[in-house]
Amino acid sequence: MNIIDLTVHELQEKLKNNEVTITEIMDAYINRINEKEPEVEAFITTYLEEAKAKARDVEDKVKSGEITGDFAGIPIGIKDNICMKGTKTTCASKMLENFVAPYDASVIEKLKDENLISLGKLNMDEFAMGSSTENSYFKKTKNPWDLNKVPGGSSGGSAAAVAANLVPWALGSDTGGSIRQPASLCGVVGLKPTYGLVSRYGLVAFASSLDQIGPITKDVKDSAILLNLIAGKDEKDTTSEEVPKKDYVKALKNDVKGMKIGVPKEFFGEGINKEVKEQLEKAIQTYKELGAEIEEFSLDIAQYALATYYIIACAEASSNLGRFDGIRYGYRTPEYTNLKDIYKKSRSEGLGDEVKRRIILGTYVLSSGYYDAYYKKAQKVRTLVSNEFSKAFEKYDIILTPTAPTTAFKIGEKSSNPLEMYLADICTVSVNIAGLPGISIPCGVDNEGMPVGLQLIGNKFKEETILNAAYAFEQKVKFREMYKPEFKK
């Protein structure tokens, strides 16, 4: 048995049967990080010594009966835009290089209540703006399947860490695809919950009407388990919704007979890589064999949604990131003459290229003269996108698309052309625009052995439907048994 190859539910089973101990699990992950992190560079900060000590402590308390629960001592990795009290939360930005979070995000409180142990904070595109993790101020994370390629983004550190077995599972955040797209490129499972299912309190805001925290895991069951842990209304986030508590693990029935799956033909058109399409067609065939009813339909919103996404997300970012002015927290320029000077120099020196680009775009679309032409129009398109999805969900239980138009691309290949990079999100952004849940699961590999992701989109608060469908596919195809990251150099 190799501990690091196990999923969390397998670890829980082995812990229960006394086949493994909490400290053995922790030691295995610490050794793995020491061995592979220099190649993958998934972490911004690690707390290996602290984690080791914590594991010993938790183990003692479990033995003495002081603490109980299925999650005691299970390691986890956290994207570095989620606040953990007393530790650095950098958002991969020079601006927050020395920011120490004064409080826990609500999701972190939930994990701490269950005695999970964080191994560290994971790399990302600066302020979650990007699709390759190349926009990190600190380092470029590598794709464990091929170290010359990007892991996707913005939760690239989280996805790469799970794929490389540096952590058994991780939290990411998704504003336009930032959980699903890196999960797709790294061959792991990434779930963006319905907007409002998981509290955003303590998640450093990028675009508040689109952001959601969600799990990145080795398999679908772990995704359901972690969602069980983090979901729920929070009085500290007024956009979190009161929905009846569900057990997402119980929803995994491994049965999709009679399930109606809609396949929007526009998501398979121009710009979608041929090999991605081939793998998706195979996946559709698999669902047919499993007894699902597949129907092609028209959902002609992808291009509109992408343009709308960049207008709305940048507008919200330009407002949200106004708080980084060098006064209460974050980088302050060493030389200044007056207050205005502090603001301008601190922001200009502390924020990276892509972040400034998006702030400028966002300020532009909100400025007098352009507000109606861009921002207001985009808000109307947002209604259109939601309406089109609502219509589709009158007919279908699930909508199936590729997660990303391509498999992982080479480091540096798209970093000089922002618009080309934005196209990496073409299949995922509409889900955020409409506030729906979406999951990416691996469905095959391309000719170079790079993973291809399949996206399942559900109706609002119907996570159980997409998780069940993802689970049925996973049980049939057994991707993890067939393919493993090779750390190709």
Binding site: K85, G196, S209, L361, Y364, Y374, V381, L419
Partner: protein, 95 residues
Amino acid sequence: MKVSKEELLHIANLAQLKLKDEEIDNYLLNLQDILNFANIVNNAPVEDLDITIGANEAKNRFRKDEIKIFEDNEALLANSAEVEQNMFKLPKVIN
């Protein structure tokens, strides 16, 4: 819509950003590119549609206006570049 250099500098000023010369040319090009793409929203069939401001139903959430003390004041202040007497220190604002 064509973006001029003056317009870009005006926008950067609104966003409290100071652009270097080499950034100006680059951002002008990028902004133009992205706006050309974003113009597609003007072809969308949205004449009769209202705007959407958030992913969920727009409704007010009310709660009691109660003061809750944040215990760890020191941790908050520790993130500032300059602090004096339990306050953030700034350069003189009024002459």
